[in-house]
Assembly symmetry: C2
Homo-oligomer: 326 residues x 2
Amino acid sequence: MAVYTDVGEAELSAFLARYDLGALLSYKGIAEGVENSNFLVRTEAGTFILTLYEKRVNRDDLPFFIGLMEHLAAEGLSCPLPVPPREGSVLGELAGRPGALFTFLEGMWTRRPNAEQCREVGGALAGMHKATQGFALRRPNALSVESWRPLFEGCGPRADDVEPGLSDEILSELGALEAAWPSDLPTGVLHADLFPDNVFFLQGRLSGLIDFYFACNDILAYDLAICLCAWCFEQDGAFNVTKGRAMIEGYRAVHPLSPAELDALPILARGAAMRFLLTRLYDWIHIPDTSFVTKKDPREYLRKSRFHRQVQSVADYGVSLESASA
Amino acid sequence: MAVYTDVGEAELSAFLARYDLGALLSYKGIAEGVENSNFLVRTEAGTFILTLYEKRVNRDDLPFFIGLMEHLAAEGLSCPLPVPPREGSVLGELAGRPGALFTFLEGMWTRRPNAEQCREVGGALAGMHKATQGFALRRPNALSVESWRPLFEGCGPRADDVEPGLSDEILSELGALEAAWPSDLPTGVLHADLFPDNVFFLQGRLSGLIDFYFACNDILAYDLAICLCAWCFEQDGAFNVTKGRAMIEGYRAVHPLSPAELDALPILARGAAMRFLLTRLYDWIHIPDTSFVTKKDPREYLRKSRFHRQVQSVADYGVSLESASA
């Protein structure tokens, strides 16, 4: 949940004066997104989302994020579309922060994904990877393999408080990942955070993707590996091969995966598990304890990391080797 | 801001099946209300607010609150109206909590009230007091004069941490309030929490009142005293007599205030300041410190309490004595 900034009616009306959307009728801070403040805004012209970019988002990255959403929407992918003002940039300023207005996307995120939804997510991710091939802007992945060791060092000596031996286990896995991380796989623009709360479904079908504020250039198949981590484990920690197969098949139905990409999925998934383990560990250690904020348990991703470490091949994700090499 | 409970699509759809509102299109947790979880819900029939009642609200009080809103709406007062299901009670159950669906009220609360808005609030409060004269249900005020001493005792010995000498000052004022509290003024149904964030304005006019979850039976003029505290002080702590006059005149234009009620306003306002000083002090002491929650400063109401203690008569609130006795 996230509303970090309060906005007054007068300043919001002044912001909206740049648009042809009629009078402001109401606005409410909404519990969506963790990096920014979001408001549901109703005007005589309809319902919109106002996003204010808080400090954790680098202002220099905003043209990449905004441009990406415009590009994706122009390519027919369903995502929030920046609403253009009468003139000037879609990026404005409000309450001392950069802000932009977006179309409102109907749909709901699923708390308990099923295999068919995993298939649709795989397809939508592949659709995004295809649609961004012509996108000109670039943003390096600030949370890729070379950032993980410094991130871990930033956690200080308290990792073993989370689980005894965790420091040694992470250091060993970091060494393995740095040594084995692929360098010759196809790259492109990743969503890089396509968790269930960033995918909307409406009446049983995927209706859109949101929250592109981790999007970046990196290995495309790494994005699929992130989704395998985020969507295909059960609440008891078990990997669901039916969901894994559906997700990978869904992806391949839209965009090909080379044998090299399929071979690399286990190491990429180990990397994805490490990336979320480390950011959660960092927050676990650095965010003060409180009864109001539920910090995400880093051990969830420790368990996922261990699962992916014992995977032999992509077959363990549900993809048969014949079809994998087809 | 408040979203305490997560709700899944399946359970929300099941809840909505009792209504004739078409398919569920989207829902978002919103940052509104401090006692309950609120969601903005969009269906094929329109936009609604879903309120889930959390533990701090006594379930036995819900028929009073819901009935009050229905009564007020029937009397023509603009407030959220419980949406009736096809059959059965407007109170349902969702995510293990009582919940109800309400009409969506357009409008925005004002961060910086002006005198004209204070006048409108006075009128709306008087309209509510008039409209509830025929309301049959009763709910005693759990935060009235007899509750303040136990509330202060519940704060323990730490009041002086907030400001040296605060304990003695509160004890002295509690004694004065208990001795001088009026017992013969007209009573009725109070909003009892009509702060600026509970009053919506649209295009310059008051468009509705929300959040009736402190409503109760008590001295009517005490409700006006609460509003004087909540609306008529400037950010530098000074009481604005122009706003005070406008609010009292706005009230009297709709509903009379007897000379006895006017005479009692200073003591009632001291009580109102004490009530919010004590609940804020209680939260200040009992809610753990965190970088995420901004606790409201009890000293704001200490300053208001001191102001009201040095008031000589209602003339100090901007009401001339001739008009007061008229």
